[in-house]
């Protein structure tokens, strides 16, 4: 894959094995400043796994993920400092208020711990003093997504971020993503639904699924 100049975040010949099963092989990706990549594919095609590879939570069985040419495994803490990861779960503690939850994650990242602005981005300012145990699934998700705005990070890795979100919250997220990209940020999103993202590239994981193995396929 020829890399466009300015491409920062790349994956080369990635192989992913989950639970003894080959999920995908020979996968390349390249994300530059201002890029958005939509990861699409069937269930089990490895969208979440690819995002976890990008985050460094998962180590590839083959190939390498690089930032500016250097493998992210060399300095994982530096890689962590430049990314936001939103997974399937919303880490909102029941005993802490939304603002406390958010302030903790912000201070753990690069943020100051002042979170009112971040909550407004996702229409959640009214939830600020509500303890996590009273939140609905959608409200929890919004509180989780507010992390994106509460501290600076170049790379956003979003795994099905619109789950449980209503239309208004989804459009808040799309606006936040657009602003992030305008500022030179990068986004990788896995999704089942169509998302309105201008100029986003699609990465179809089904194309990298395992080719039938003639030896094992024989009866």
């Amino acid at each position: 894959m020829a890399l466009a100049p300015g491409t920062l975040f790349t994956g080369h010949d990635l192989t992913c094995i989950r639970g003894e099963r080959l999920v995908f092989a020979g996968l390349d990706f390249a994300i530059g400043a201002g890029d958005a990549v939509l990861l699409v594919g069937a269930n089990g095609s490895g969208k979440s796994s690819l995002l976890r590879l990008m985050a460094g939570l998962l180590r590839p069985a083959g190939g390498a993920v690089r930032w500016g040419g250097e493998s992210i495994a060399i300095d994982p803490e530096a890689h962590n400092a430049r990314l936001h990861y939103v997974g399937h779960l919303d880490p909102v503690k029941a005993a802490l208020t939304v603002a406390e939850n958010l302030a903790f994650w912000a201070r753990l990242g690069n943020g100051s711990g002042v979170v009112t602005e971040a909550l407004k981005t996702f229409d959640s300012a009214s939830l600020s003093d509500v303890p996590g145990r009273f939140l609905s699934a959608g409200q929890k998700r919004r509180a989780n997504l507010a992390r994106l705005a509460a501290s600076e990070a170049t790379l956003w890795l979003l795994d099905e971020p619109t789950t449980a979100l209503d239309a208004a919250a989804t459009s808040c997220l799309m606006k936040a993503i657009a602003r992030h990209r305008a500022g030179g940020g990068m986004v990788a999103i896995s999704t089942h639904v169509e998302l309105a993202l201008d100029g986003a590239r699609r990465l179809d994981l089904d194309t990298f699924a395992r080719q039938p193995d003639p030896v094992e396929a024989a009866p």
């Binding site: 976890r52 779960l89 802490l96």
Partner: protein, 221 residues
């Protein structure tokens, strides 16, 4: 370093908000010790003889029981992933969580121990050594236990499994902890035993966060 303190502060705050949870360990500790006079009879001389051992074994079990939750809640709600993805080395995250855990469950055990020693009619000469030995032993157990707590994440029957994994590893702490108290009561020097307990603690500080972080990483893969 600042970030590690943030993690510690958050865990302490969580423990305080859910105060009952961390008190359970010390309640268990007291209850387990109180069962012994009921089991072996109320004779003061027998109780005094076994006091140090009973208190140590109960402390061992109490700290083991509380360890199960060390990473479990964070694992369940996805916090652990984000902690692993924070710009803090995971070893430091483990250390911060263990310190917070020890402050909320280990320290209450140390505070409760002298009261129980009085109940069991333990010789007053052993009190100071008992407190010092528990002060060295409980953090060691928290550290060793953190490895077990990290290993059982996502396993079936985590609780029972944890006891099988960590109780054998607690044995050196138990032996030297009891030996220190017995030595003090018997009029011998407790210092060598306490030195070994310190050695165990230093070794645990050096090795356990590393092993726990390795198990956490693979549990998140």
């Amino acid at each position: 370093m600042r970030r590690a303190f943030e993690i510690m502060r958050r865990d302490l705050r969580l423990a305080l908000r859910q105060g009952v949870d961390s008190l359970m360990a010390v309640v268990f500790f007291v209850l387990a010790v109180v069962l012994f006079p009921l089991g072996v009879g109320p004779e003061a001389n027998i109780l005094a003889r076994i006091a140090a051992g009973v208190i140590w074994v109960a402390a061992l079990l109490a700290s083991m029981l509380s360890l199960e939750r060390l990473f479990q809640t964070d694992y369940d709600d996805g916090s652990l992933e984000l902690l692993a993805l924070s710009p803090v080395a995971l070893e430091l995250v483990v250390l911060a969580k263990v310190v917070a855990h020890w402050l909320t469950t280990g320290v209450p055990l140390i505070v409760a121990a002298p009261v129980l020693a009085v109940l069991l009619d333990m010789d007053a000469q052993g009190f100071v050594v008992l407190i010092v030995a528990l002060g060295l032993g409980t953090p060691t157990m928290s550290l060793i236990g953190s490895v077990g707590a990290a290993l059982i994440l996502g396993a079936r029957r985590g609780g029972v499994l944890l006891s099988l994994l960590v109780l054998p590893l607690f044995i050196p702490v138990l032996i030297f902890g009891v030996a220190a108290v017995d030595a003090a009561i018997g009029g011998f020097a407790a210092r060598p035993h306490l030195m070994i307990l310190s050695g165990l603690l230093i070794g645990a500080v050096a090795l356990c966060p590393w092993a726990s972080a390795a198990s956490l990483r693979q549990s998140l893969e």
